[in-house]
């Protein structure tokens, strides 16, 4: 609404507004009008709360009492005296480092299989995309228990071979890896993007390579991979950010505890516990900003290295 009025003013009395508003609104009224629903949402629901949380990260806000300024205390605590913070960092980094490459490899392999042109592709595409839609649902907690609990399906299969498996999901040595498997299982969206990327690669390149007698493996490493690097890069960045922000799998499978023994304590789950379990909104806000920083650094790093390995075919 605000942008609309300003644009309106420009249209009628072009001389009056200052330089700044001319820069923003001159002739762009309609554009801002169309953007308004998103803009209002962005300012009111994203930017506003984000800035508020930046302020709260320097306070000891606990929801029931008004916030008190404590300076850098929250950040100092994180850096020096919080073992649980360190545990959450470790779990999150292991998760990111394992799940992202595995998921991308898996997604690419399936995309390549689909790209060969099989019958009923739309059907299979939908079926393989399904896990991505289910991953965050509560039903998964039940399903994962059916699979990985002491008397679950995995152990039933193992017992056929005479192996007495542990309760994977509730054993701190394995529980995080069941979550990695869950993440890899949700390969749907990178797979679709890979599939689109594979379709972009000109067929004549393969024909030429065939003619020259290049093996399939050589074709993959010399044609497919290089031409796919922009898509790989995109998927890598998006999946990495997603993995850092992972919350639901652990929240529903460990019932919000991050247990056993903090073995599935994702960073965001720790943040949630501090905020909504123990009502330390100030500390949780500080945690949130550190996560923003970590993701920003990672993304920036990815973009910096991109020039060395991402191949844009101009």
């Amino acid at each position: 609404m605000v942008s609309f009025t300003a644009g309106d003013a420009v249209a009628r009395r072009p001389a009056k507004p200052g330089r700044l508003s001319r820069f923003f609104f001159a002739g762009n009224g309609a554009g801002y009008m169309f953007l308004a629903p998103w803009l209002i949402g962005f300012l009111g629901l994203t930017l506003g709360p984000a800035l508020a949380s930046l302020y709260l990260s320097f306070t000891d806000y606990d929801l029931l009492q008004s916030p008190r300024f404590v300076g850098m205390d929250n950040y100092v605590r994180m850096a020096t005296g919080d073992a649980k913070f360190a545990a959450a960092m470790k779990v999150t980094f292991i998760y990111v480092i394992l799940s992202v490459p595995l998921k991308l490899i898996f997604a690419l392999a399936l995309a390549m299989a689909f790209n060969r042109g099989i019958k009923g592709l739309p059907f299979y595409r939908a079926v393989f995309y399904l896990p991505s839609l289910l991953g965050g649902s509560v039903a998964i907690a039940v399903l994962w228990r059916q699979l990985f609990a002491a008397d679950g399906l995995v152990n039933s299969v193992l017992s056929v071979f005479g192996i007495d498996g542990p309760s994977w999901i509730s054993n701190p040595n394995y529980s995080l890896y069941t979550l990695v498997v869950l993440s890899v299982w949700q390969f749907g969206s990178p797979m679709i993007i890979f599939l689109a990327g594979l379709r972009q690669i000109p067929q004549d390149m393969y024909e030429a390579a065939n003619m020259d007698g290049a093996s399939k493996a050589r074709q993959f490493f010399r044609i497919t991979l290089p031409l796919l690097t922009p898509v790989i890069f995109f998927n890598f960045v998006i999946q990495t950010i997603d993995a850092f922000k992972a919350f639901t799998p652990s929240f529903i499978i460990s019932a919000g505890t991050g247990g056993p023994i903090n073995s599935t304590l994702f960073y965001t789950l720790y943040l949630y516990q501090e905020a909504f379990g123990f009502f330390r909104m100030g500390y949780a806000s500080a945690l949130a900003w550190v996560l923003v920083l970590i993701i920003a650094v990672f993304t920036a790093f990815s973009f910096l290295t991109a020039r060395y390995w991402v191949h844009y075919d101009e």
């Binding site: 609404m1 609309f4 309106d8 309609a30 009008m33 929801l63 029931l64 009492q65 228990r145 609990a149 002491a150 008397d151 542990p166 309760s167 999901i169 509730s170 054993n171 701190p172 460990s254 019932a255 919000g256 505890t257 247990g259 056993p260 023994i261 903090n262 905020a275 909504f276 379990g277 123990f278 009502f279």
Partner: protein, 428 residues
């Protein structure tokens, strides 16, 4: 340009329309003076009973509207706290002994003394049941039911293993040897005599009290030391070793809900819930369950205590506190309401309601009432109010108990737990 201005006017009109609609939408809510909102935590069974009671109240009191909502225990507290912070608290809300002090001292809930005798007719609750819902001498909660810790077991499973199950007055030593005998006699695969309760705060607390200690002192500090905690972990380490209690990776499946209890999941023949949960637990289990007291310490003191399983409190933001109090009164002190709630939230604090409910109780509820009745010799007085941070300490107990179960020595576990718990309390 003209097309642009038309669409602009159209959009403006639409915007005005939306604004008007939202105003209209708000009007009736603001005009309705007898609206209250009710919020509690608990199972579907509890929700069904509570909704029926609220409907009955609405029917009897035309013009009053009460909107109900419920959540699971762990979702309930964040939701309540965010609403209180947003000045949007439900009028009538379910409160827990642990959180009552914090909410009362911060002025989020109101004292109810002014309603006593008029809107709130709970004189027959008795002194103990009023005091247990008071903070600094003022009444902040309306007791919804009395409960205590207990042991719930599957008698058939114990019989099949050829061992007499836990009974009133059994000592911890007897319990340990019974569980070991169970492990020898039991034929079922991946099935054990009991859950591993080493990370279970109520169990640890009552064991401490039996041994002349307590979880927290009047000063809000820890009232036990490393050695006590180490001994508690040792007790369970012994059970683990004999195969009497479930192994650690099975216990970790237990998410402190009734449906994930190792008893419900079919791994253990004994669990240690709160007595009011017996009703819900029986509903989830095919096997016919029975209820008894925790083991006692030979030569020790009584360790159990009766506490309000939950209470009704009124938010200080409530515009209709009187209506909220009356609805609460209906559920705990009037026959029609109390009958609907039954003993699902615990045994009614009102002696009148207890007598009234007596003859109509089903077998399961009767067991709960009988249990509370027999508990007298095993009960101590209510411990001092838990300090700020107590909730987090309970989490730490669970985690350290898992560390011990997965390999850390009990002594080291005791040290670890006390160090971490003390630092949490210091931080508050």
């Amino acid at each position: 340009m003209s097309a642009y201005s038309v669409s602009r006017r159209g959009l403006l009109g639409a915007g005005a329309g939306i604004a008007a609609a939202s105003l209209l939408g708000l009007r009736p809510a603001a005009a309705q003076q007898k609206d209250i909102r009710v919020f509690w935590w608990g199972s579907q069974e509890r929700a069904d009973r509570t909704n029926r009671a609220v409907d009955a109240y609405k029917k009897a009191n035309a013009g009053i509207d009460a909107k109900t909502e419920f959540a699971g225990w762990s979702d309930y507290w964040p939701r309540l706290a965010t609403r209180v912070a947003g000045r949007n608290a439900p009028d009538l809300l379910q409160m827990d002994y642990r959180y009552m002090f914090e909410y009362a001292r911060r002025g989020a809930i109101v004292p109810l003394d002014q309603y006593l005798g008029n809107a709130l007719k709970i004189e027959d609750f008795g002194k103990a049941n009023l005091e247990s819902c008071s903070v600094d001498g003022k009444l902040y909660g309306i007791n919804l039911g009395v409960n205590s810790s207990c042991a719930v077991f599957d008698p058939a499973a114990w019989e099949a293993a050829g061992v007499a199950p836990l009974a009133f007055g059994n000592s911890w030593d007897e319990f340990v040897s019974k569980c070991a005998a169970f492990a020898k006699g039991n034929k079922r695969k991946k099935f054990y005599a009991t859950m591993d309760a080493s990370g279970h705060e109520p169990g640890f607390e009552l064991w401490l009290v039996q041994n002349g200690r307590a979880l927290y002192g009047e000063d809000g500090k820890l009232a036990f030391d490393e050695k006590d905690a180490g001994n508690w972990f040792k007790l369970w380490a012994e059970l683990r070793k004999s195969g009497g209690c479930v192994p650690p990776d099975v216990q970790a499946l237990d998410k402190s809900t009734l449906d994930t209890s190792t008893l419900t999941l079919g791994y253990a023949a004994t669990a240690f819930p709160h007595s009011n949960q017996f009703v819900g637990l029986q509903q989830l289990n095919k096997a016919k369950l029975d209820i008894t007291a925790f083991p006692v310490t030979a030569g020790g003191k009584p360790g159990q205590y009766l506490k309000p399983s939950q209470m009704w409190s009124i938010a200080s933001d409530s515009k209709n506190p009187e209506i909220a109090v009356k609805l609460a009164n209906f559920t705990v002190a009037e026959a029609a309401g109390a009958k609907i709630l039954g003993v699902e939230r615990g045994v009614p604090a009102s002696s009148g309601m207890r007598e009234l409910l007596g003859p109509d109780l089903d077998e399961v509820s009767k067991k709960v009432v009988d249990y509370i009745g027999k508990l007298g010799p095993y009960t101590a007085k209510l411990p001092p109010s838990p300090p700020k941070g107590a909730g987090e300490v309970a989490f730490v107990l669970e985690r350290v108990s898992q560390e011990v179960a997965f390999g850390v020595s009990p002594e080291e576990g005791g040290k670890k737990f006390v160090t971490e718990a003390a630092s949490i309390l210091k931080r508050g």
